[in-house]
């Protein structure tokens, strides 16, 4: 698909620097230990299903319900199960695994489009601003009945793009 020339004037792009300022954004040290949920939710919206669904109770919203969700993971309990990715009405939670391979990171995201991608498909990694930034491939497609039509797709991209890629397009 041709990139839209108006994109460069677009509002609504959260910068990585801005997101990093949130206290529970994972540190590089934590990333080295395995997959973890990354919550890109920066507004005081009354919403907490991420807390409700987290089996390992590492995501906390608390009271008032407008608190930003915090992922407090001192004991490294988050294993990137992805329940929060599925339930988030804002489609704002991703699982990032910077230990995926020597050179690649895995980015897991909610996906609600047809046709579904298949494991092995070549993709272009897309950043928060809608720009293609790198190549990659589909590592996993989880389409479970209990997910209620939200498909969870994991793409593998070069490690240096792990903090940027939040969507993908099919290559070619």
């Amino acid at each position: 698909m041709m990139e839209n020339p108006l994109l460069e004037q677009s509002s609504g792009v959260l910068s990585y620097e801005e997101l990093r300022r949130h206290p529970s954004y994972p540190s590089e040290e934590r990333y080295r230990k395995g997959p973890i949920a990354v919550i890109e939710c920066v507004e005081a919206i009354p919403c907490n299903p991420c807390q409700t669904v987290c089996h390992r109770t590492v995501i906390t919203v608390g009271e008032p319900i407008t608190n930003l969700p915090r992922l407090i993971d001192q004991e490294e309990l988050c294993n990137g199960c992805g329940q929060c990715v599925v339930i988030c009405p804002g489609l704002a939670i991703f699982i990032i695994d910077k230990t995926f391979s020597e050179t690649e990171a895995a980015v897991t995201m909610p996906y609600e489009f047809l046709p579904l991608p298949a494991k092995g498909d070549r993709i272009r990694g897309v950043n928060r601003a809608g720009r293609e930034v790198c190549g990659g491939y589909v590592h996993k497609v989880r389409n479970v009945k209990g997910y209620d039509r939200t498909v969870v797709v994991t793409v593998a991209v070069p490690k240096e793009f792990a903090d940027e890629v939040r969507f993908f397009r099919r290559a070619g």
Binding site: N4, L7, S10, S11, V42, C47, P49, G90, A92, D148
Partner: protein, 364 residues
């Protein structure tokens, strides 16, 4: 026809009012002009915000099914294809049903007629395929008809952002979302998900005109200055065949006007709203409102307001012990309060407080 409670409108507010009353033993007749009840829930294919008790994370269409099931279970009589065209001060309701005109004579009424989309006039606005974003959403998600392939959305509130996303899901290309204000009006998360899909959101931009002979073929947009005047030289033609207007909604409150309910003007709630107390009773005894008709919010708040009205009616009709009723009202009030927290809810909360205050003052 006599009935204990007549509910006008079978959206989330009306259904919840009907269910709460019916499960407390009230005989309920719900009229809805559509072929199916559920209001706008069945086009809301996205997951809802809130907490578990608000069914957060559940898709609107699933909540619609749940409410219809509850209405059946508790014996709500649902009259479909039935238009309520008049509400009189003695609470009589004029309806036109498929088999003719009738009059409902209820002891209590809940008006849950919802909202209507605001329009925007500009040269070319009467061309086919200039439509409300909600209309496009109905076409795509309920009727499975994609009205256009290349879309311009006017307005960046949650409706505009969500409809942009759902048009992408339906296979359209969204060329841009334009917003006259300096910032995006809706949730950041809704903006983020369309921007990362390549949809630009252009703030300080407006539509100047729609062009086309039989149907929309192009749209002209331009940047606007601080006073919302188009900046000369910034005009740009977009190759689009569908223009969706998402510039807010207003209460569909004619029946309340007609019955003589007192109104006040609250911009935070979409305009002129019928005054009501904390149990949703208006300035006319026995006439209640719930949902968008009582001020524009969203479906989760509409459901809680409907519950308030349904419980209050049950108490007023002597179906439940007032103390038990008060407890249930307090619970629904607490859940409703939670939905109005935060920067997106503060103005609505404040306006609703003023409404309750105003309702208690002056002659009924």
């Amino acid at each position: 026809m006599k009935t204990e409670l007549a509910v006008i409108g079978g959206g989330p507010a009306g259904l919840c009012a009907a269910i709460e009353a019916a499960q407390r033993g009230v005989e309920v007749t719900l009229v809805d002009e559509n072929q199916r009840a559920g209001g706008q829930l069945f086009k809301q294919i996205h997951r809802f915000f809130g907490s578990e008790e608000h069914l957060a994370g559940v898709r609107g269409l699933t909540i619609g099914e749940m409410l219809l099931e509850d209405a059946r279970k508790y014996g709500v009589k649902v009259a479909l294809n039935t238009v309520a065209w008049g509400l009189f001060s003695d609470r009589q309701i004029g309806v036109t049903a498929p088999d003719g005109v009738d009059t409902l004579e209820p002891q209590k009424v809940v008006v849950a007629t919802g909202a209507i989309e605001n329009s925007l006039s500009f040269p070319g606005w009467t061309l086919p395929n200039v439509m409300g974003a909600g209309a496009a959403q109905t076409m795509v998600n309920v009727h499975r008809v994609l009205p256009g392939q290349r879309v311009l959305i006017v307005g960046s509130g949650n409706v505009g952002l969500i409809v942009a996303y759902q048009l992408l899901q339906a296979g359209a290309e969204v060329t841009a979302v334009v917003e006259a204000l300096p910032g995006i009006s809706g949730y950041q998360v809704h903006a983020s998900k369309i921007v990362r899909m390549g949809v630009p959101i252009l703030c300080r931009h407006t539509i100047l005109r729609a062009l086309g002979t039989e149907c929309v073929q192009k749209a002209e947009i331009a940047r606007v200055d601080e006073r919302f005047n188009p900046v000369p030289g910034s005009e740009r033609l977009l190759d689009v065949d569908l223009i969706c207007i998402a510039v807010g909604l207003r209460p569909l409150a004619e029946l309340c006007h007609m019955a003589g309910v007192r109104f006040e003007y609250y911009p935070a709630l979409g305009g002129h709203v019928p005054l009501h107390d904390s149990t949703m009773q208006t300035t006319l005894p026995g006439v209640y409102v719930a949902g968008d008709v009582s001020g524009i919010e969203e479906a989760s708040s509409a459901m809680e307001e409907g519950r308030l009205a349904g419980i209050a009616v049950s108490v007023a009709l002597g179906k439940v012990d007032p103390q038990a009723g008060a407890k249930d009202l307090a619970e629904a009030g607490r859940r409703l309060r939670a939905l109005r927290l935060g920067p997106y809810g503060d103005d609505r909360h404040e306006a609703k407080e003023k409404i309750v205050q105003s309702c208690g003052q002056g002659a009924r």
